[in-house]
Symmetry: C2
Subunit: 134 residues, 2 copies
């Protein structure tokens, strides 16, 4: 993919998104939620977690993830894209996530992420999810 | 708002979105989930409801809403936009919803909607939500 590719180039967007999602999964797997958040979210990103109030800004999001990983004993997050659509200079992604929790239990979630480019990377700008089962 | 306004015109988008959201709330209030869904969602829209699998296509979404309204005794939905951002020829909205359930109980939800224009109206193309409290 040439660096001159327009933002509408779906293959280029997907490549950038894969890189970011892979980085997030790897950082969570090694227990580094700070790195996971800082390389993944835009500075003024917003998350809307189930069962809690929304959180704005990367610092607050880092605190949220550190707390959630600690509280639930998350050892891994597996992300898989279901649908990716470019939208202007951004994109949105519909996906599935599988969380591995303490004791090896797994929980399935669905998510929508609004993607933006920031500092030359594709990053999560709005991130909302919910669980597949009640 | 002139009909020549470009899609990037935020005031024009918000006007169209308000009209659609108002139509949805009114139709739910009079118990007409079929109208609520048909005037609000794109034909190939996708919803990602908490505690259930995702649903694709307006017919399936109409069945989902009819079932949910029946099961929970929803008598009203109040939508309020928190953030609206144009994205290419679409837009995304972050918002809050208050559902009035059977017995007058209320439940607070957060949502993200990806908006698209279809048949001259702004409609919900991707709709995901979760509840504020567990």
């Amino acid at each position: 993919m040439s660096s001159m590719s327009p933002p509408q180039d779906l293959a280029g967007i997907r490549h950038g998104m894969d890189e970011t999602n892979r980085g997030f999964m790897e950082a969570i797997s090694r227990g580094d939620t700070a790195a996971a958040v800082h390389q993944t979210y835009t500075r003024d990103a917003r998350i809307l977690p189930p069962g809690a109030a929304g959180v704005e800004g990367r610092e607050g999001i880092a605190r949220f993830w550190a707390g959630a990983v600690e509280q639930l004993g998350v050892t891994a997050v597996e992300l898989s894209s279901v649908d990716v659509q470019p939208l202007g200079d951004g994109a949105y992604e519909v996906g599935r996530a599988t969380l591995t929790l303490g004791g090896g239990q797994q929980a399935a979630a669905k998510y929508v992420v609004i993607w933006r480019q920031e500092d030359g990377r594709w990053r999560w700008h709005v991130d909302i999810w919910n669980m597949e089962a009640t």
